[in-house]
Symmetry: C2
Subunit: 388 residues, 2 copies
């Protein structure tokens, strides 16, 4: 009933029950808690260890009593309600485990901000992590409930979290029914992350995982799933996670009603090692650059090009990735490339760019993709290192 309402900024004591966090995370805000994964962890781990997964919270972490918890599924088409306990979900359905990379749509925003002020958390390149998510395929669960996924009155699947603002507005988002219905969709109602209970910050006990789609739709602490003829009427669905035209310089000029909610994310890559300002010893003769590449929509990374002369010459990086079925490549690819340290230079700029199975590539600059909300900056990442 809370339609398209921006959440109220709560008083700090609203955040009295926050979980303990790994001090190695790179914190952007404490309340709500938002933190990046450390770069060296991303560079080395195809699966991010649980305690290093990035965290993007919109409100305080809810504490859910798993003994009494019931997931509610509401079919607006016929008014039917169905409830499942965690025990039902974990024991009465086939479980699947899928490697999925979640990425905040604001990842790399700080570099877009350098071209003109944008609004949002100033994420560096690590608002992205990968986990092995285990759960029930939402499609299977809905079919088990007798829900007709081709019912023309069902156009969107809404996910409501149990996290809420002081006025009781819960975090919510939706995806089109086509994503849930597709044989290549893999939308998961997850109860395990890397084989363990999902950490409190990542949605314990139940999280929707929407592979290939911006993190904002993978609703944590999910308590209710609604099969609806309209998309979620939440602020985040209607007035937030949408890509404005570069001609809109200020969010106040924006008419969000004219734009579609972002779902699948574009091809992306970043350098995680070395990091900006690192010192590389000339006596080593060589150095290795490492990072990740990822494409939404199930696309596989086919190549990562790395250059130390601003793209005059490109080197094909060595790739490390999961072996996945076509159209269902949901996790990032790690890459590395070795370079000879060039003579006569005391600084090198490293730049990388990826291509995917749809042959898409990244824009060189954020100039033409700049948007006032600072979303989906997938322009080439650059890192400067000093040679000594």
């Amino acid at each position: 009933d809370e339609t398209n309402k921006k959440p109220i900024e709560p008083k700090p004591d609203f955040y009295k029950d926050e979980p303990k966090r790994n001090p190695q995370l790179k914190v952007l805000t404490q309340k709500p808690f938002n933190a990046e994964s450390p770069k060296e962890i991303s560079a080395e781990n195809l699966v991010t260890p649980l305690e290093f997964h990035f965290i993007r919270n919109h409100m305080p972490v809810p504490h859910i009593d798993t003994k009494t918890f019931k997931l509610e599924i509401l079919n607006v088409s016929n008014g039917e309600k169905i409830e499942f306990s965690l025990d039902d979900l974990e024991n009465k359905f086939n479980s699947v485990t899928i490697p999925v990379t979640l990425q905040c749509s604001g990842n790399k925003r700080k570099f877009m901000n350098e071209l003109g002020q944008v609004q949002g958390l100033m994420w560096d390149v690590n608002a992205i992590s990968t986990a092995l998510w285990t759960g029930v395929l939402l499609k299977d669960l809905l079919i088990h409930c007798g829900i007709d996924l081709n019912d023309p009155k069902i156009k969107h699947v809404i996910f409501e979290g149990l996290d809420k603002d002081p006025a009781g507005v819960v975090y919510a988002a939706s995806v089109p029914i086509e994503k849930v219905r597709s044989d290549n969709g893999d939308v998961l109602l997850a109860y395990k992350m890397n084989g363990q209970d999902i950490p409190l910050d990542n949605g314990y006990p139940l999280r929707i995982v929407v592979p290939g789609v911006i993190g904002a739709r993978s609703v944590k602490w999910v308590g209710k799933i609604i099969l609806s003829d309209v998309e979620s009427q939440s602020f985040w669905q209607l007035n937030d996670y949408k890509v404005l035209s570069p001609s809109i310089k200020n969010l106040k000029e924006a008419d969000f009603s004219k734009l579609k909610a972002v779902q699948e994310s574009p091809i992306q890559s970043a350098i995680c090692q070395p990091v900006d300002g690192n010192i590389i010893k000339r006596e080593n003769g060589k150095f290795i650059a490492k990072g990740y590449a990822f494409s939404g929509g199930g696309n596989e990374i086919e190549s990562v090009l790395v250059s130390i002369d601003n793209g005059q010459n490109w080197k094909n990086a060595t790739l490390k990735k999961f072996d996945r079925p076509l159209y269902r490549s949901w996790a990032w690819t790690l890459w590395e490339a070795e370079f000879d340290i060039p003579e006569g230079k005391d600084q090198i700029e490293i730049v990388c760019t990826a291509s995917d199975s749809n042959q898409n590539t990244q824009p060189e600059s954020a100039k033409s993709i700049w948007n006032a909300r600072g979303l989906l900056n997938n322009s080439w990442h650059r890192v400067k290192v000093n040679i000594q």
Copy 2:
């Protein structure tokens, strides 16, 4: 049996039975016949009239006796062969009609060639057209034949044309079984184009139409379909339509065996009106730019940005497109944008760039996507006009 063999250059009299063509097509080569659609036709027609559809032939046009013609389907997994007459295909199965844009993977090659020599036909921006294709969904036909599309021994679907070189090598290509099997694949065995018999140059009587994928896989004059554990061993599948690294400057250095055959094509756009060198009258005060945008893989075009100051300011073009289900947007979008003629300039450069439902965008320059075969140039298109 003819494995990965480059077709022989035939003597000119090998082409004695070529059909009559529309003299308004922009011809690149006569033998084989390769020609673009006129720019003014692309600018104005969401469905390209049959006689204006671009033509990309690899060999002479075969003349097929439709009375005796049989399509052969061979399942390598169990050796089973099934044959269908045209009459069977047209009358015994449900027909579907789908708007599909076919694009040669060499479209816009001439602009990539400006950055460094590439090999292939020097297509301008109109090796792309759209038709309403009618036929049988290949998936339905194969299921009707009792073929198990989840048989692990079936990994690729090979299409053999009836066009051949002097040594008898036929044009052939394949797509992964996942594309054919998918609910969102829409691979069509087509027998009508814009409601009429398919023109001789576009595959009469039967053409495979693989939506969202480069034109090279939509095999014309298809005579044989093979369900196989390996992809087509044709020259065009193995050693031709693959994107080489920009570091490979010469095709002779290329190891094609290391690369995947291109299937889905990336986001693309072009300006069709005005054309390079056109004169615009200052007294009109305004002018209109028009063109197309297209993204492979079923992605929908969400925006087209147009600029007359090299991207300092972007205008959102008005879009005209088919209303299509999510993930199955197979046709281009036409766009137009009106500009005031700026004071004090006697030349204007127009530039356009598009974005799609996967939030992918086009590279500004072809520098980082340059490849020796000149494939998939989707960099920003620029047109210079003179003001008088």
